[in-house]
Symmetry: C2
């Protein structure tokens, strides 16, 4: 069985979106810059993305992440031509999911989503892509093996916080650190 990874891009000051989000600008004005690393021409980032996608067996995301990302993901999902299955944790499945899409909508909660993702992933890893809230819920439930952060060289000063309140300290172990001009890729074991 693979491991469970919570994987997300963040500003250096810990925001996964900029402030002043709207339905039209779901990342907040300027907030897309947190994902620049994934769309640029830098070879280290392209290789990183490709490698991470290859070791992923299935992806879990929340409904907001699905809704806001679908215009880019389209039917193939976040891993593009690799077409890894995406489990969308939601209260209600959408009526208009793309035909031939990689998406499965799970309404039974966290554990049901994890079970579905593990089954879909087989021996490969399960990657939780966010949002922050869902990542934190999995983290708090103790099922996340690895935290994979892409830290953009930006201070947003406001927006959606990646980390919220926790009752206990969490001690992590750094297992990888790859700096690039548009993001530092950090992997921590929980």
């Amino acid at each position: 069985m693979g491991i469970v990874i919570f994987d997300i891009s963040t500003s250096l000051d810990g925001y996964i979106t900029a402030a002043h989000q709207t339905a039209e600008v779901p990342m907040g004005p300027g907030g897309d810059a947190v994902h620049d690393w994934a769309f640029g021409s830098d070879e280290a980032n392209a290789t990183y993305l490709q490698t991470a996608g290859a070791s992923t067996g299935a992806v879990i995301c929340g409904r907001t992440t699905y809704d806001t990302s679908l215009p880019w993901w389209e039917a193939n999902g976040p891993t593009g031509e690799q077409r890894k299955p995406v489990i969308v944790l939601t209260h209600r499945a959408p009526a208009d999911a793309p035909s031939g899409g990689v998406y499965t909508f799970v309404t039974g909660g966290l554990q049901a989503a994890l079970d579905a993702a593990r089954e879909a992933a087989g021996d490969a890893d399960v990657t939780i892509m966010g949002g922050a809230d869902i990542g934190r819920q999995f983290l708090t439930a103790g099922v996340v093996d690895e935290l994979s952060l892409h830290v953009a060289p930006l201070l947003f000063g406001g927006g959606t916080r990646l980390f919220g309140d926790l009752t206990d300290h969490v001690k992590l172990t750094l297992v990888d650190c790859l700096p690039t001009p548009t993001a530092i890729h950090l992997r921590y074991r929980t």
Copy 2:
């Protein structure tokens, strides 16, 4: 003239102290762990600390940082035997500063502290050691050339936040990244 560096240790979730601070436990229970990198036996960290100290001409800190650090700093200050001058930004000078200490108490505000530090530093760098509030004030005033963070592999989930609200996004340039087991040392040009 050297550059102005805001240099501070933080948890991965952006707290420079843990929650539940008291006068007796100014870093909050468990919060000292954010500074473990500076006190451990790891050679990379010891070298890093030594090099940073050597390029520093003067240090600026706030009164709380001074008060809580004095038991460790003693008369020599944060650079130890290097005895670099420390400018303490305060509303009122303490009556009981250590004799033969490296400390100068400045009550004239941010610019007066910076002027005093620059004069004391000569051609070397000025390092702002915090607290977070003072670092942010210098950052917002646009006088910080470099942000030097020591990111401990910890989630505190609460405490004193390093970065607060900002009105504008700040785009930084990564200039150095040194991962160690107890902290990742990051340097960004503003």
